[in-house]
Subunit: 517 residues, 2 copies
């Protein structure tokens, strides 16, 4: 057995089932070991940000980390943005980054780089394996680190000679770290606040937005009348008919301030206090109203699920009946025609959402109505960009579809962001993933026009127009999609929306709809 085989055996024993990969020469022994042992499913990505984004979504949907296989420092660099997003999601991920043989590093060959330096800022755990005998233990530690509460980015750097030299050691699976304990005084303070009759909101993210904890959150609301509000962007929200509804804090600062302005208590559960996405001149970073009190029920590193249980006990809310969303029939969209607007897209999308679908939302400006409009749709799961680095939609769809082959995946994708990782379409075709992609082809970085005003710049000149415009030339998303093997069509009249979405959902494999408006 060589080190690479020890790596594969240890990963498989530790529960790694899937590896999103773009390997190179320094990873050849790892590839050979994957080949011989056939314990882990390998999915090829044509650019590393597809691999890391897919691994993030896979983890969000299964609760377990996938592995990525990346080629030295620059290979990790190509995938860094989606590792950043995963870190902000607190999603578990195991990155295996190849390195030159240890004795080769001093020669500063072209691909030599400071890999530890490159991976460090977006990893919670990093280890470099410097002998084949260490591979097993280091791998087990890496997977355990990834699985530690609430989900960590764990990166193993594997020098080529650690992979190809022999060893007899396979790593034993290690126990991940659990959450930090809940502070009973914090829970008591929250219970008091909720009984005070003052206006309060639970500001929440993380595991509480998923079943079964979500129902407990509804019990607290039912017992106390507290409002529920999720972060603007979240790892995952289970929602729809039969579930507890949680709104999200709006992205625009003024809307967010308006949403929060009357609260006397802002209670944090699995997140930090509400802050604006960006700073703007003469607008606050902190969004809680002046004079409000911020109470920490449990932070992201603490056992949020248990904190909620303890709160329910203190409130005597165990038998409270949470208000569940009543199913509403799909809107009748048979008569849609004429000009396409974001509102009409939202109706058409909502009308056809299948039961148990997974929605990947990178719709930016087009999509602000999608979330509220789909509140009473059939039960579904909503995935968002948690780190603000654009280019997640298509990679997330790959990971979610591989994680949940029986659940249809729909991608709400703005055009500018979609171009970042367009290579993900090819993986969708290759793996015949059940994905329907809606591209919102407004042919601009539309959000930047608003942001320009938001930072106080009123007048847009030709340089800004040039930097914000995705026209000249228009991108032909149908041609782009077909070029990578994903069938596609273009819709430029509202009458075409429903038939296109129905066609996409009926297909077993991927389908892309370019919506021009």
């Amino acid at each position: 057995m060589n080190g690479a085989e020890s790596l594969v055996r240890t990963m498989a024993a530790s529960g790694i089932d899937v590896c999103f990969a773009n390997p190179g020469t320094s990873e050849m022994h790892f590839v050979a070991a994957l080949d011989r042992l056939d314990l882990i499913r390998c999915v090829l990505a044509l650019q590393e940000n597809v691999a890391t984004g897919a691994a993030d979504a896979y983890a969000r949907m299964t609760g377990e980390p996938a592995a990525t296989l990346l080629h030295l420092g620059p290979g990790f660099g190509n995938g860094l943005a989606n590792v950043h997003n995963a870190k902000k999601a607190r999603a578990p991920m195991v990155n295996v980054v190849g390195e030159h043989a240890t004795y080769h590093i001093e020669y500063d060959a072209p691909l030599t780089s400071d890999i530890q330096g490159i991976v460090g800022p977006v990893s919670d755990f990093v280890v470099t394996t410097n002998s084949p005998d260490d591979v097993g233990t280091d791998t087990a530690a890496t997977v355990a680190a990834a699985k530690s509460w609430p989900g960590k980015i764990a990166t193993l750097i594997l020098p080529a000679n650690s992979a190809w030299d022999t060893t007899e050691k396979v790593g034993k699976p290690q126990q991940p770290d659990g959450p930090e304990p809940v502070n009973a005084d914090d829970v008591a303070a929250v219970a008091e606040a909720l009984k005070s009759g003052k206006k309060a909101v639970i500001f929440v993210s993380g595991a509480i937005l998923e079943e079964p904890a979500l129902t407990n959150l509804g019990k607290v609301k039912a017992a106390t009348g507290v409002d529920l509000l999720a972060q603007t962007s979240n790892r995952r929200i289970d929602r729809g008919a039969g579930r507890v509804a949680v709104n999200k804090l709006p992205y625009p600062v003024d809307h967010a301030l308006e949403t929060l302005k009357d609260y006397e208590y802002v209670i944090l559960l699995g997140t930090r206090e509400p802050v604006s996405f960006f700073a703007y001149p003469n607008k606050p970073s902190r969004l809680s109203p002046d004079g409000s009190e911020i109470l920490n029920l449990a932070g992201p590193q603490q056992d949020t699920v248990k904190a909620l249980d303890m709160l329910i006990d203190l409130l005597g809310a165990g038998n409270a009946e949470p208000e569940l969303v009543e199913a509403e029939p799909a809107p009748d969209v048979s008569g849609l025609s004429g000009e396409i607007t974001p509102e009409i897209i939202s109706q058409a999308f909502r009308a056809h959402m299948p039961e148990d679908c997974i929605i990947v939302d990178e719709s930016i400006t087009t999509g602000r109505a999608f979330f509220p409009d789909s509140k009473a749709a059939p039960p579904h799961t909503w995935l968002q960009n948690t780190g603000g680095a654009i280019g997640v939609g298509l990679p997330y769809a790959v990971g979610a579809a591989i994680a949940c082959p029986d659940r249809p995946v729909m991608v709400l994708q703005s055009d500018g962001s979609g171009m970042y990782c367009n290579q993900a379409l090819w993986t969708m075709a290759r793996e015949n993933l059940n994905v329907t992609v809606l591209i919102f082809s407004n042919r601009a970085y539309r959000i930047l026009e608003g942001e320009m005003k938001g930072v106080g710049v009123e007048k847009m000149g030709h340089v800004a127009e040039n930097l914000f415009g995705l026209n000249k030339p228009d991108i032909d998303w149908v041609g782009l999609s077909k070029s990578m093997g994903v069938d596609a069509e273009r819709v430029d009249d509202a009458s075409g929306l429903s038939p296109a979405i129905q066609k996409g959902l009926a297909l077993k494999g991927p389908y892309l709809i370019e919506i021009v408006f």
Copy 2:
């Protein structure tokens, strides 16, 4: 004036003419200042690795840095791989990376990251500008750092409030650091070695491979009989008819060892000793033969041009007549037909190379004959991937074409690498760049099949086949190219090569030829 305007004024005064950009909210004031002042040409890239690759090639062709405009840590991360390549090329580059307003960083908003940590491993110089009054001085220092010999990666991190708050200060252009001095004893030792009658080679990279230093290199050869050998990958080589020919060290280790085996002296000029690109089991990292003596004429940080002048003086070679390549007529390719092979592509490419063209070579396995076959072509410039992070071909073409609008650019592009930054095609169309792209569509990461054997793995199973294959589905490069506005055609018979290349070269704007073989 605000800090952003100070930045633009200082950059322009320091000689920055072009900015390859993908901005976001935190860079809006910079965009507004670029707009108001209109001193710097802005070129939009749809993914940051296009921007950084283009800036690298722009610098290689002009000798001056371009700027990049990148959106926080993840935006830099997206462009990190091509910054790595530029660093290995020792190409000058000025990166402007937006950051949250300083007071906003502590709130850990979604896009907050350790920007200094992310940029550090691939930057030679980093400064964070923490007040608008510092912007001018910091910018001047950044540009000067980039221009320092032999070319540096200089990164300015610009918090949004440093950009939007007012200042009266514009930076004065600063003097870049020149090269480190040459050691006269080193030059004398090399002169002695060259007079010894022992077999010697000058192993060279950097500025010496460009005119006018290249001709001086030829004088040393003419006077002493020394062989000339460039690194495997170089920033830029000026070559063709009427110039001094310099071969390159082959990439495969066995070929490289064979090339070097008889040398008693290996003389370094602008590079380090020859080493293999990767380590392989039971093969050496160092490629110079045992018992050879390695002499350093001048390292990359030293004044290599002056060292060569000093050597010529010591050798009395000032009047030596360098051997210049005699022009050879283009091969007759009118009769090509039938199966396409790399050799036939090489002939067709060579036959149509225009005078003064710029060749961007990311041809990997397909292209091993291209360089020798084009030795006696009309004078031209050859650009290579210096850092081994694939995905340079299309971005380099953007930068080279913007740097030299009067010189036709030809891209020799393997398909796997080309997919990495396919978004560069859109920028080619938008800017109507004079680029002809040849895609070598062998539908595999072909090099990895060889590398697998190279590291000692003989048997390839279905996992490796899956990870190395770019078929299933085939990528339709013609459709992909047209979807981004670049006209294209497919050639799958040798008879089609010449007409397609002629058509591409005749067009003023970009054209792509997918060569399927």
